[in-house]
Symmetry: C2
Subunit: 394 residues, 2 copies
């Protein structure tokens, strides 16, 4: 789509999500009566946990829904600090925690505070599509660093060292990662932070899928470094997607600067969501979330067992989030058309690789295990049947 | 406050709000037992209307709080279009309406879509402080155009024509305005739009206080031009401040571009707020809001009658919003210190002029009539008493 000539130049560099076209096509088929299995959008099928809903309803009945402080309600910042202590044994003073309008706001403010126009930001390819578009919105330049199975599809310290060049100001890494579900372990985080530090650069850690890991306990980079900018969210583990709430942990001495940006760009994060989030961090809320984590882990295990049988190759073990990144090069060299074909043929909606980068997008697609196990099994069965009928590579 | 040298250069150009220091000082006095009359923050004392609260509680009990479309729930976009038709007799197709995370998001997306780094944006001085900081966040340049009583403290067509120069890309005007409460009438809007159009520039209209006018029915620039970008909000007239919901009306053909930015920067506006806002636009909600508008009008009238008696000069009649911009040059040439002194002496908290621009900030302060009439009368009485005791100019 050509950009209108009267719009700012950055608009030509910001791409819409390919997955939205898949979603639109899926909805058209659904409207026509087809049974569609939605595995394309990064949002689980679970509703917001009951204790969180109850807390919001209670707050609406009893508390005014005025603006809060630009950095968030003190009791919520304190609760997040308490959650870091209880969950990870790490001390994160509430003064370093800024409650934000989703992790989207956290990421924009972090990049806005750190990166000048024309400067560069390293990130792994494949990776979360918005990361590069946040950077472009600020007229800075994303540097997509191709990463493969050997790197766990991550921006490793070695890759960052190799890609660092003139004008690089920061690096973004996510653990677990979207679209691959792979993690950076503490040693790798430490090495990556050291690479950034040695180059007077800043590491931005995306921990929005932090609580959703299945092979080991959750971890935070804050256990090993306190000069990292950490983005987190109530959307994924805490399953409050539509509420638009997240947070940013900044190094000592940076809160006032971020507060200034928050005042101007957001005023404050949504008040109903802040009240609700208090319940997500309380024992009753966490109990629901842990049960759902177990369910998501079971879904992952089913897919990891079934996908190889239909020729969808998983090259690096996904340890978290709710995504599996599949190598489908056996079937296609145009994953967008392949995803379209799968949707039409099988009614299963997936995300083509193009949304996640430029390195090998046509050989990959992402499956979001955001449906119950029986639906996942059915999706795999439908796809398997369709692929059996293929004469050769699509 | 000097910016940290490791932060982006734009951070040095973005100032925190002076009013926050007043607010902090007011809270300290309050904690020490003083009775403080808060007239400093741009948020009325009314809670969210009951029908809106009820709708939100109902939605929480019955609807999933998932992400919505990046441009908003279709039924809310349709309701806003219907509200334009019913309230102003103007046809605004829902396709041109983008529901946003507060008018803050609307303004950032509009500026982001329109203005390149280094380009300039005209705005009136005095004006809403965030406007210039949004522009600076995008590494563009705000041009503060001094406007006085003769211009209604507005960016008139004549002022815009005079200030237009190399690199000017857009102009922002607000009606009613913060901090002055003054309006642009349709003739003036049309003239300003024509000035922008003739220079291949874009007019951004801030209508977030639109419904709050007291001398005449509300108006919209959309009645006279469809190439204007219009920012609106559920915070002020609709009194849903903490919910963080607003909208942006874009010219024909721009929605897909803004959708792209919304997907990347916000994902979607808060879902609970979108459900709640439907009730704000329904007859029961509007009835509450109209009663409150009458109450705010009565408050304005009391202050307009009382302020001249204590020497606070109101140089242009405020017709809307909930602000009165006072010339206090009779008492001070340092309005920040004057506001501090008033707070300590009288317990009345006001906003110093510095937040609103560079033109004549030290001679002005803003009163927000966000308290009931008896409290406003008491505030004026306390201030009057203190000023009587003044030997001469502070």
């Amino acid at each position: 789509m050509p950009v209108r000539p009267d719009l700012a130049q950055r608009m030509a560099r910001i791409a819409p999500f390919e997955v939205m076209e898949v979603l639109d096509a899926a909805r058209r088929l659904e409207a026509a009566g087809r049974d569609i299995i939605h595995l394309e959008v990064g949002e689980p099928d679970f509703p917001t946990p009951e204790p969180v809903i109850d807390a919001a309803r209670q707050a609406l009945a009893t508390r005014p829904m005025f603006y809060t402080s630009a950095v968030g309600m003190p009791e919520l910042r304190e609760a997040i600090a308490g959650w870091y202590a209880a969950s990870f044994g790490v001390t994160v003073p509430m003064e370093r925690i800024v409650v934000t309008a989703g992790s989207s706001a956290a990421l924009l403010m972090a990049l806005g505070a750190l990166v000048n126009p024309g400067e560069r930001v390293l990130m792994s390819d494949p990776g979360y599509p918005c990361n590069r578009n946040f950077v472009r919105f600020l007229d800075a330049e994303p540097v997509l660093v191709p990463s493969g199975p050997a790197d766990g599809y991550q921006l490793t310290a070695a890759l960052a060292r190799g890609a660092w060049g003139v004008g690089v100001r920061a690096a973004i890494a996510a653990s677990p990662s979207n679209p691959t579900g792979t993690c950076l372990d503490p040693t790798e985080w430490a090495a990556l932070a050291a690479v950034c530090r040695a180059r007077d650069g800043v590491l931005i850690a995306d921990e929005i899928y932090q609580g959703l890991v299945y092979d080991r306990p959750p971890e935070t980079v804050l256990s090993i470094a306190d000069d990292v900018w950490v983005v987190n969210s109530f959307s994924k583990y805490f399953q409050m997607t539509g509420w638009r709430l997240g947070w940013l942990v900044v190094p000592d001495g940076c809160t006032r600067e971020i507060e200034k940006v928050a005042q101007n760009l957001y005023i404050s994060a949504p008040t109903p969501a802040q009240h609700a989030a208090l319940a997500a961090l309380a024992p009753e809320g966490l109990a629901v979330l842990e049960a759902r984590r177990a369910e998501l882990g079971a879904r992952r295990d089913v897919l990891l067992a079934e996908l190889p049988k239909i020729g969808f190759a998983v090259r690096a073990r996904p340890q978290g989030a709710f995504y599996i990144y599949c190598d489908v090069s056996e079937f296609t060299d145009d994953s967008f058309r392949f995803v379209e074909w799968l949707l039409e043929t099988t009614g299963v909606a997936l995300t083509p690789g193009r949304d996640f980068g430029d390195a090998a997008p046509e050989q990959h697609l992402r499956i979001a295990y955001t449906q119950p196990v029986d639906r996942l099994r059915e999706a795999v069965a439908r796809i398997g049947l369709a692929l059996e009928g293929l004469p050769s590579r699509a």
